[in-house]
Amino acid sequence: MSHSVELQNVGMAFGQTRAVSNVSFTVEGGEFFSILGPSGCGKTTILRMIAGFLEPTEGRILIGGRDMRGLGPDRRPTAMIFQSLALFPLMPVWENIAFGLEARGVSKAERRKKAEELLKLVALEGYGDRMPGELSGGQRQRVAIARALAVEPQVLLLDEPLSALDLKLRQHMRAELRALQKRTGVTFIYITHDQSEALAMSDRVAVMSEGVLQQVGAPRELYDNPVTPFVARFVGETNVVEGRIAAVENGITSVDTAYGPLRGRAVANLAPGMPARLYVRPEALEHKGQGANKLTATIERIDFEGAFALAHGRLEDGRPLIASIPSTELNQAPAVGARVSFVFREANAVVLPDG
């Protein structure tokens, strides 16, 4: 079993600027764990603190139960895959992969053998003598992974390594990374700003915003039960309706809004009279259904996205509303300009305190 990574009240300040505040979470050994957030949210700072390039100004980081304070990146059981990949352009592929072994004084024959094994693992057999510049983006990606795995790390840290690839290749590499992680059993900590990437690959995801940890959970949990407004808006598309709590019972909240009373699940502690917002996903809105939980909008346009279409409408007071329609039902879709009532089930909406 690979090492776990534990952050205890970790904070980081660069002079007056605070990058990370009081972050605690535990990544289990062998887990594929993502840190998700917009750029500038502190996720890269966290990764660099785990790698040892930065020393946290507060709190501690434990890897495999051992406090990492004072240990540089060369002395931690981690290996990092950089956003730029940072392959050594003047070394052939096999020397790139074996560089960590070279630094450990392994003999040349042994290094070559290990490099060939790793090339096989990442499906690049026969590429050992090429130069990195002669490889495609996806191949370079795999060389970077092989180079990091060569030092047999307990924890692999990945800093948005797929961001430079085109969409098809990115989707392919996601699957490959995931498979590789399962095969090697190494703990993966993956940084990304792309929520679909995080949801698709990870066992669990930590969502960050402005240096503060918002929520840690499995992808479904983040999507279905966001605990902060940031998570509700950042993970997936959503519609937001402002209002005031009317009543709470059995975990279902009734919210008084400008469009009448609406009901949804109460995720956090709520009391009548509190300002609150109701979040409902585009796919939870049905234009053919009947019921009390209803939002009425005028359709402005329908964007075809492939598997589904997004109907963009305006509520009575001009606020936007997005509903998704499966492509198989597009022939029954409402016409542009029509006034349509969208209903949703209370189990599919979430109510969070305002703020």
Binding site: S84, E102, A103
Partner: protein, 293 residues
């Protein structure tokens, strides 16, 4: 060339080309051809120039080959210039690396300014400053005596003085090419090397030096040529025992009155410098065009 005409039109384009041609012919080709011409002719009284005895031969160059003192000074100049180059490289590489990869923009600006300011004054005056510093009763001896490192003043003029003066004089010619080369190195490569467990030495040997090879070769070529052709530092900071080949050339021209032999000696020095440049570039596998950049 077509680009030049397209951009500036026929008249202006032709003018630019003509200016470059005149400059090359008048400032580069003509003096060098004249020097070769002089080098291969004997030194004759004015009446005999163009006469029977005025024929081309290698006599002046052979004279250097057979004159053991001059020959020794020539080879000493070669290896001493190589030593100056090596010392300058050892001094400049860490500074260049620090400036390019570690210093904050503020620190880099201050250090580069401090290194550049002395070069605003003339080379002779700069060398004169070293002349004062290294004097027998000068500040360096005084300081070392006070600290107690030496018991009596040291005569610095000579090999040490020349080495110090030249290293100082050519620092920037070594520093900037290396700095430019190292600056273009992606910092994440250094981090990746460290993350993979490489020591500082290995990171430099395997990553930084190969990356900055062209800059290092350029700096070495510049420094070697300047050192081999240097006159001021050996003249001011040297001693009779540390004569430089350029001083011999000077003597043939202005004291010996034998321009032909002086030209022959200068030609040998020029050929040597060219050879060193080409061999260095070959060894470093760098193109001449990379150096020009």
């Amino acid at each position: 060339m077509a680009e030049l005409f397209r951009r500036f039109g026929g008249g202006l384009g032709t003018l630019f080309l003509a200016l470059v041609a005149v400059w090359l012919a008048g400032m580069v080709l003509a003096p060098n051809l004249t020097m070769i011409d002089y080098a291969l002719r004997p030194n004759l009284p004015p009446a005999e120039i163009g006469g029977q005895r005025d024929v081309y031969s290698l006599d002046n160059i052979l004279y250097l080959a057979n004159e053991s003192v001059h020959r020794a000074i020539f080879f000493k100049t070669v290896w001493a210039s190589a030593l100056v180059t090596f010392i300058t490289l050892v001094v400049c590489y860490p500074i260049a690396f620090w400036l390019a990869q570690r210093a904050t923009p503020g620190q880099a600006a201050v250090v580069i300014l401090a290194l550049t300011i002395p070069f605003w004054i003339n080379e002779v005056l700069r060398t004169l400053a070293w002349y004062i510093l290294l004097a027998f009763r000068g500040p360096l001896n005084a300081l070392l005596l006070v600290i107690g490192i030496i018991d009596e003043p040291v005569r610095w003029y000579g090999d040490i003085g020349v080495l110090a003066g030249m290293t100082y004089a050519y620092i920037l010619f070594m520093l900037f090419p290396i700095y430019n080369a190292i600056e273009s190195l992606d910092r994440s490569q250094l981090e990746a090397a460290r993350d993979l467990g490489a020591s500082v030495w290995r990171t430099h040997w395997r990553i930084v030096i190969p990356h900055s090879k062209a800059g290092i070769a350029t700096g070495c070529v510049f420094t070697f040529m300047l050192a081999a052709g240097s006159y001021v530092a050996p003249a001011l900071l040297g001693s009779p025992g540390s004569r430089w080949f350029t001083e011999i050339i000077y003597n043939w021209f202005f004291e010996g009155g034998d321009w032909n032999r002086g030209a022959a000696y200068a030609l040998v020095l020029l050929v040597l410098c060219l050879a060193v440049v080409l061999v260095t570039l070959k060894l470093a596998r760098v193109n001449l065009t990379d150096v020009a950049k």
